[in-house]
Amino acid sequence: MAINRQFKERWMRRFFFVIASTSIFILLLIMIFLFAEGLPIFKKVSLTDFIFGKYWYPTSEPPEFGIFPLIAASISVTVLSAVISIPLGVMTAIYLAEIAAFKVREIVKPMVELLAAIPSVVIGFFGMVIVSPFLQDMFDVATGLNLFNAALMLGFMSVPTICSISEDAVSSVPRAMKEASFALGATHFETIFKVVLPASLSGITTSIILGMSRAIGETMVVLMVAGGAAMIPLSIFDPVRPMPASIAAEMAEAPFRGDHYYALFATGVVLFCFTLMFNIIADHIAYKYKQTGDSTL
């Protein structure tokens, strides 16, 4: 009986291990299928022409498959949204972890979580019907569906990511470090700025990278709000067409396994590589500069 039990234990351990590896297996599967459906486009266009080509006219004759305008749009939207979300997210995190009274925190924290829970399509819809006309009037621009609007919406979508991870990092700075700072006569603000923030910098950096990764991969918002013009943006009020928007908008019309279809999958590969890079950097920082205290990072 004891042998039987040991046998079962060992096999269950293996079983759990196999299940736990599913995530990696799925990740690999995603890569394989993206590449399998995306690579054929490079029989028609060279890799350099595809990535640095300035014209995205997939349906004209002859078609042009240059995704540089899409990449430029994705990057500019993400960077602009980070300008909004980083200060907001980090400052809210500090407020929640260091300043807010317990009762206030119990209300504000769920609010940030609810902000994260709003479906992206609803944010996109909101940006389209409420924010867009407002921007059009306020800045007197041709269309309210533009880079700025998309960045604004994405900014508020990545605030919760940045805020919750940063808050975890800030609040897990050991109490003793803060007490030492107070004992030396530092004010609360000085303690936050010169002790707590440096100690939690790796966590905060990770949160920022993950927030930006979320912004660059977000689809519905940029699909509905960014304006959809595949050109390199010259001003923040230009309409743009970031990579996810292009994929989502055109996939339905692209002929099955035609060049356009392959090109969209190849765009997906590029997008996937961007987020993979962001996530690996974030992971690297979180491990290499593992912070003191009991942060979950």
Partner: protein, 302 residues
């Protein structure tokens, strides 16, 4: 040295010259931090306000229980509600068992070696894959390669993979809150590791796992991009009869009505109404999860 100076602690004496300026700086910055938190709250309030203000009129019994009519310009959204329920429940049915088993391995079995590091890297990266890429993958793998076609099954599988990291994360958190002494007591009584996990650890962690499951469902219910190519269609008049049917879903319905319809302005009330229904659904689940967690935390403190 005067008498008054001696009474004050040395630190305060040294700090005195700048203390007013330093306190002032603190006040300014703390106000700024507070303001940042306020902006987030305001953003949430503004979104909710406009959706409620414009959406509540559209919602009535007919809207919730009838299919769309007159090429989607009138009628209700019943097929979308049903579709979203099918998709998110299907997704959770797939991701919950895999997620719980993964978390059990990570928290109960794995040491801290290289294998664990790689598995974690995999999970973190899976969590970071853009939703539209999940959609592409679902199209290439489930719809085309496995020949499922555009169907509930393909959509639920895609959404299931997408919500897997959420479930794993939440379950792991829940397992971590089970005190080590419980495990030791069980092992001390002669139970095997497996018995300990199934009879002691999992029951204790169950409420936390449920919280994670609710959050997973709400995440799956709100996603649009993954189902665009795998499950959702413009319009089907009938409710689905098998898992190989294509269906309508709330998020996709909002997108279609607000961008692709021929009468975008005329259907605006329907768009607001659908958004409101979706957000009530998602927020309801999230609030349930938040309350459940708060109750748990209270119980843990006692």
């Amino acid at each position: 040295m005067t008498k008054t100076d001696v009474k004050k602690p040395i630190t305060e004496q040294l700090a005195l010259p700048h203390i007013k300026y330093r306190k002032f700086k603190q006040t300014i910055f703390f106000a700024l931090f507070r303001f940042a938190a306020l902006i987030n709250g305001t953003a949430l309030a503004i979104i909710l306000f406009f959706l409620l203000k414009n959406g509540y009129k559209a919602i009535n019994w007919t809207f919730l229980t009838q299919p769309p009519i007159d090429s989607m310009t009138k009628g209700g959204i019943l097929p979308c509600i049903v579709g979203t329920l099918y998709l998110s429940l299907g997704a959770i049915a797939i991701s919950l068992p895999i997620g719980i088993a993964s978390a059990i391995y990570l928290n109960e079995y794995a040491g801290s070696g290289r294998v664990l590091r790689i598995i974690r890297l995999g999970i973190n990266n899976l969590a970071g894959v853009p939703s539209v890429v999940f959609g592409l993958f679902g199209l290439a793998f489930f719809v085309i390669y496995l020949k499922m076609g555009v169907s509930i099954l393909a959509g639920a599988l895609t959404l299931g993979l997408l919500s897997l990291p959420v479930i794993i994360g939440a379950t792991e958190e829940a397992l971590k809150t089970v005190p080590e002494t419980y495990r030791e007591a069980s092992l001390g009584l002669g139970a095997t590791k497996l018995q300990t996990i199934f009879r002691v650890v999992l029951p204790c962690a169950m409420p936390g796992i449920l919280t994670g499951a609710i959050l997973g469902i709400s995440r799956a219910a709100g996603e649009t991009a993954p189902i665009m190519f795998t499950a959702a269609v413009f319009f089907t008049p009938d409710l689905p009869s098998s898992i190989f049917d294509e269906i309508m879903a709330l998020p996709y319905h909002i997108y279609v009505l607000s961008t692709a319809g021929t009468e975008i302005e005329a259907t605006r009330p329907l768009q607001y109404g659908t958004s409101l229904v979706l957000i009530v659904l998602v927020f309801g689940m999230n609030l349930a999860a938040i309350l459940l967690r708060a109750r748990l935390r209270k119980r843990m403190h006692i």
